[in-house]
């Protein structure tokens, strides 16, 4: 499949060169890429889901390695893997249910005869169900099948109904692929509409005559604020400019063009202004499993200021930003150091920064990190497309969206770092 291969390589290069900006765009393109990978993947007769999962995992590893800081890539890969597992499971249970019904209709009068297949079907379904669930106390004592047993169970289900008709198999393999692609399409849809979903909740959070503080630029924040404005709320926005890229200027311009009362402040004025602020609303780069936030640089300071003055600190995040990893050492692992040209003009400082001529080491160094880590205790509320959540509730969403088996995916890229 040269086509998918070329696409993947293309995307990897783009990621590596940091050509794609913003987690939403990355997430969407990742999902689209995976969709084409899935649609071009040839599916063997047995263990179809296994083949798909392997294919997606292989591509996913490449993508994550290309840009380990862009967590949205890994999130989408895990989401797609979860989708495949789910679809396979629902197909398997449907097939088994059909089998049970067939047996029932075949020998209606013989009750003892069809008791066994139904029993085994129920057992397989129960096993598969518990395998998809994250590990819990509830399943601790039950016969937990190993993760390797999942494809086994499903393929055995496929075999048993393949016994009756071989045509079923092809239809099933086609169906699995079809369903998965359908679900991935839905995921892409979700990602592209997440702004609207979040913005819908704006009126519940922004009240009349409030003062909102934000930092930097985020599409989600713009949509959120404008949605409140459209609902005839009048409020003021303080925009911290977000050095060194000054994305706040862009945001301020956009807000003014939509008729919002806007004040631009420097980042260093946040503490001075925070006592007049009713709520801090910001976007995020990624939300970690413990409820911590990887956010544009400067936000930790804003969060601390908000905490000091007991101002609610609200983070807007589409569900594709929800990452099932823990930030073990956020300053080191999940940050990116950008070019010093954001801070200093090369012309002015070219003498001090000349690595070539001097004794090898220069006195001037520039550190320009892209992200901050905001610990969960500084965050009051997350607003996602599914509603408002506490930081401590994040693990629950993760359990819903990702299957525990796929978290292993993280280990390889993490150790490669």
């Amino acid at each position: 499949m040269p086509d998918a291969h070329a696409l993947v390589n293309d995307f990897v290069i783009k990621l590596r060169k940091r050509k794609i900006e913003g987690s939403k765009a990355t997430a969407k393109q990742t999902a689209e890429l995976l969709r084409s990978v899935i649609s071009q993947q040839r599916i063997p007769h047995i263990n179809q889901s296994g083949a798909l999962i392997d294919a997606v995992k292989g591509v996913g590893e490449q993508l994550i390695a290309a840009n380990p800081v862009e967590l949205a890539v890994g999130n989408i890969v895990r989401r797609v893997l979860h989708i495949i597992r789910e679809e396979d499971l629902s197909l398997a249970t449907a097939a088994i249910g059909g089998l049970g019904l067939d047996a029932g209709s075949d020998d209606d009068n013989d009750v003892d005869g069809d008791e066994h297949p139904v029993l085994s079907a129920a057992a397989v379904a129960a096993a598969a169900r518990s395998a998809l669930r994250p590990p819990s106390l509830q399943t601790l004592l039950e016969d937990l099948p190993n993760s390797a047993a999942v494809p086994h169970a499903s393929s055995s289900g496929g075999d048993s109904d393949g016994k009756s008709k071989s045509a079923d198999k092809t239809s099933r393999s086609w169906k699995l692929k079809h369903n998965v692609i359908e679900a991935v399409n839905e995921l892409i849809q979700d990602i592209s509409t997440c702004h609207e979903q979040i913005a819908e909740q704006a009126v519940e959070h922004i009240h009349q005559n409030e003062v909102i503080l934000t930092l930097g630029n985020s599409r989600t924040v713009i949509e959120f604020l404008c949605a409140a404005k459209e609902k005839k709320r009048s409020f003021r926005v303080f925009v911290a400019e977000g050095a060194p890229r000054y994305q706040g200027h862009v945001l301020a311009k956009e807000l003014v063009s939509r008729g919002l009362q806007t004040t631009v402040i420097t980042d260093s004025a946040v503490f001075a202004m925070i006592s007049r602020v009713n709520m801090v609303i910001v976007g995020a780069h990624a939300v970690m499993a413990n409820g911590g936030v990887i956010a544009p640089v400067g936000l930790n300071m804003v969060a601390l200021a908000a905490k000091r003055h007991a101002v609610p600190f609200v983070v807007l995040a589409g569900i594709h930003k929800l990452c099932p990893l823990y930030p073990h050492n956020p300053e080191v692992l999940l940050n990116e150091l950008r070019s010093p040209s954001d801070l200093l003009d090369f012309g002015e400082f070219s003498d001090c920064m000349d690595f070539g001529s001097g004794a090898g080491s220069t006195l001037l160094h520039v550190v320009n990190p892209a992200f901050d880590y905001v610990p969960p205790k500084l965050v009051n509320l997350f607003i996602t497309d599914t509603g408002g959540h506490n930081p401590s509730y994040m693990y629950r969403l993760i359990a819903d969206y990702y299957s525990a088996d796929d978290l292993v995916l993280q280990r390889k890229p993490a150790s490669r770092n």
């Binding site: 129920a122 819990s136 004592l141 823990y326």
Partner: protein, 395 residues
């Protein structure tokens, strides 16, 4: 103006006078509330005032004589399944006692209390003559109640019993099957549980590896088999780290742990318990085990954990707890004294005047806000997840 009443002193004096007047009545009072169960009447616990759980722990983990160590080593060396667990069950005329069985299992230092409890309950099933599920359930309930009341201080014993009862009474695994196969299935699961507990430690050790980075200093309090496993795995993975061990008065469990770590060539430093705040600034993370994890997400652990967590919290150091999920208990302590006290003797080395009171409680409760993460075999959890898991199971 509000003054603190001195009644607690006066009451105590009164109590002592009463006790001198009627010595036999005082002996009766602690046993009277526990009754009804046939097994509890012949309670083999020789001294109900001392926590059996902590006695065992002290025996297993405190610094001990070399011949005891050799003996223990021999016990560990044997595969747990090789050991014939047959207590006087069928052959002898003595009636089967779940507590004896439990104590039998408990003697292995590597076997967790909850596993011993579940194995003991499994042998109840094995020797049971019940013919219906309901009968078996009642019998099990009796046995687990007597186990629980035998040592109320052991949280993992209670949790293990509860978990197994929950498995027996409300599980989908038993549907559609006749009684005998259900029974054998229960026994089989209980046997496997030991393996689960062993695996749990491995899983926890694996999960925590990413949190131990090169060059970090870890403060450890008490002797926890899970924490030891974590550190052992980290050492095997060639991580470079340093461990500060608290002494762990009065049973000096920290000495034992430092012994074990020294064997692994991990740089280790011993602290007296009161030096924790002094050395906290060089610590990167605090690692503790747990006797029990309660519904609030807090932990109950060896005395001193609370103050270490407080110091760590005030100095912004993460506190990590390593605990197997069968230690999750349905308790909700509101404060330190809100638990059945687990007492143990404390040797001060010098005679203490009889009028001086000694705080002999063996454990304290650390509220969830002072804990950062819990490493369990269910994954890396925030403290608030614990209640969620428990609700899911016992609702």
């Amino acid at each position: 103006m509000w003054y603190r009443s001195a009644s607690f002193i006066l009451d105590k004096q009164q109590e002592e006078r009463d006790a001198v007047a009627r010595p036999e009545s005082r002996l009766l009072s602690p046993t009277s509330p526990i009754s009804s169960m046939a097994e509890t009447l012949q309670n083999p616990n020789p001294n109900p005032k001392i926590s059996a759980y902590y006695q065992t722990r002290a025996a297993h983990h405190a610094v001990v004589t070399s011949d005891w160590l050799a003996q223990a080593q021999a016990a560990v060396g044997q595969h747990p399944d090789d050991l014939p667990p047959e207590s006087p069950s069928v052959d002898s005329g003595k009636p089967f006692s779940v507590i004896d069985e439990f104590n039998n299992w408990r003697k292995q230092p590597d076997l967790a209390e909850a596993v011993a409890a579940i194995r003991a309950l499994a042998s109840v099933i094995r020797s049971s003559e019940a013919t219906t599920m309901m009968e078996l359930e009642i019998e099990l309930k009796k046995a687990s109640d007597s186990l629980k009341s035998w040592d109320t201080t052991s949280i993992s014993l209670t949790a293990g019993c509860d978990l197994f009862m929950r498995y027996v009474t409300r599980t989908s695994a038993l549907e559609y099957e006749d009684f005998n196969s259900a029974k054998s299935r229960l026994i089989e699961r209980a046997e496997k549980f030991g393996e689960i507990s062993y695996k749990a430690r491995k899983i926890i050790a694996m999960l925590s590896q990413e949190f131990i980075f090169d060059g970090c200093t870890i403060l450890v309090h008490g002797f926890s088999r899970v924490v030891l496993e974590v550190l052992k795995t980290a050492a095997e993975n060639r991580k470079l780290f340093r461990v500060l061990c608290t002494e762990g008065r009065p049973d000096r469990t920290g000495l034992r742990l430092s012994n074990e770590l020294a064997k692994l060539d991990v740089p280790v430093k011993l602290l007296i318990d009161s030096a924790v705040a002094y050395s906290m600034d060089e610590v990167d993370m605090v690692f503790v085990g747990a006797d029990g994890v309660v519904e609030s997400g807090g932990i109950i652990n060896m005395m001193g954990t609370y103050q270490i967590a407080l110091v760590a919290h005030s100095m912004n150091k993460p506190v990590y707890v390593a605990a197997e999920s069968y230690k999750f208990a349905r308790l909700y302590p509101l404060d330190q004294k809100d638990m059945a006290p687990a007492l143990r003797p404390i040797d001060f080395g010098v005679p203490i005047p009889s009028k001086v009171e000694v705080e002999t409680s063996a454990r304290d409760y650390t509220p969830p806000q002072y804990l950062t993460l819990l490493f369990t075999d269910l994954g890396v959890l925030t403290p608030s997840v614990v209640s969620d898991e428990l609700i899911q199971l016992y609702l």
